[in-house]
Symmetry: C2
Subunit: 206 residues, 2 copies
DNA sequence: TAGATTGTTAATCGATTAACAATC
DNA sequence: TAGATTGTTAATCGATTAACAATC
């Protein structure tokens, strides 16, 4: 229990968490089963039980899982029982979308700073955040011991920004730049490239 | 060769394609090896050779792969040797970001229509596209036989939009809504939820 | 030729699933 | 009690890697 959990298991937990929240908040359910959860997510019930069993015993035979309790446990496991402040780099269209996204709330994250290198954008207010000069990036990350960053800059700028973030102490990066980033071990990167996602699906088209 | 390729292999091909394009266009290289490509992507050279071997023999012993030839082959395999016209649903901040994104160009896709249900947004021009009423969604998809859609609407609206898209003939959906979508078999869905991605990485934080 | 690198095989490693005793 | 569902084991399935003959 909880020693060396496969990445792929960790990857599914946030999806379980999201569906459990929906079950609880939208549908007012109190308990659920691995079978019900699996059906809703297109995952086998055995896999859900196996995944959870890496961390402990959260259910009851005969009745299943108490949803709110399981939500609490998953939040604890994923280190979401707190709010991670996030640095956003890039105040273009995508930066705007991220700064205005309300989905971060209550899910463990809050964008607290926005940076850009464009003098025309610096000083602009973005959903009550003031766009700061990229020259202040390191100082902010270091002073507030920020661990999480989102990169919404061009492919050309992304590696340099990454190097600066990492040097300043960032250890989790969500990147929207269409490029593979080089980071030292211990730093995690997650990518979002809409074109890569579309290209994967294109294989199955006609 | 090419009968029943694992999803996970297909998933890596667009990443190979992206890096090969970079190698060719940014660095002017003519050939590369599975070792070089793997090093740049953090993937073993054996895996790259194995992945490619599902589709044919593209390299030469001693010299490796001719980059432009391999790019052509991958584009062919992934059905990218054409331009897929894409329907975008949702003209909020994220819709704006997607409509203005220049990264689709030359990678197989082009957003050709944008829909929203907000009267304030309908008629607005978005990077030379006019936002259309969502009531015209089905007619457009059917008339132009559109196969690919991007969903940038709220979690509440996403399932209804999905059902309408699927009924109209869409078979690949990239969804930014934080919800698991139910679709009939044969329809592919790819998700992008920044919070899920951040939550996965949070597990590894301190 | 000598060195480099492919495509492929077999071995290893890891993930998923089926089945069921335990028990609520 | 009878029915439902868990957590876990063992079997199955699938993916990755190491190694190497073939050959450019």
């Amino acid at each position: 229990m909880a020693d060396n959990i496969p990445d792929i298991v960790i990857g599914r937990l946030p999806v379980y968490l999201r569906e459990l929240t929906r079950l609880s908040e939208e549908e007012g359910k109190i308990t659920t089963s691995s079978h019900e959860l699996g059906q809703r997510l297109g995952i086998s019930s055995a896999q859900i039980r196996k995944d959870l069993s890496h961390f402990g015993e959260f259910g009851k035979q005969g009745t299943g899982y108490h949803i709110k309790y399981l939500i609490d446990q998953l939040q604890e496991i994923l280190h979401l029982a707190r709010e991670w402040k996030v640095v956003l780099v890039g105040a273009g269209y995508l930066g705007h979308a991220l700064a205005h996204y309300r989905g971060f709330q209550d899910r463990g994250f809050r964008i607290a700073w926005v940076f850009d290198n464009d003098p025309a954008k610096i000083g602009e207010t973005l959903n009550s955040l003031i766009v700061q000069s990229i020259t202040e990036l390191e100082e902010t990350v270091e002073k507030h011991e920020v661990k999480v960053a989102i990169i919404a800059v061009s492919a050309e700028a992304a590696q340099e920004i990454t190097d600066r973030l990492v040097a300043a102490g960032i250890s989790a990066i969500l990147s929207y730049a269409p490029i593979h980033l080089k980071v030292p071990s211990g730093v995690h990167v997650s990518y979002s490239d809409p074109v890569v996602q579309l290209q994967r699906m294109a294989y199955y088209l006609v």
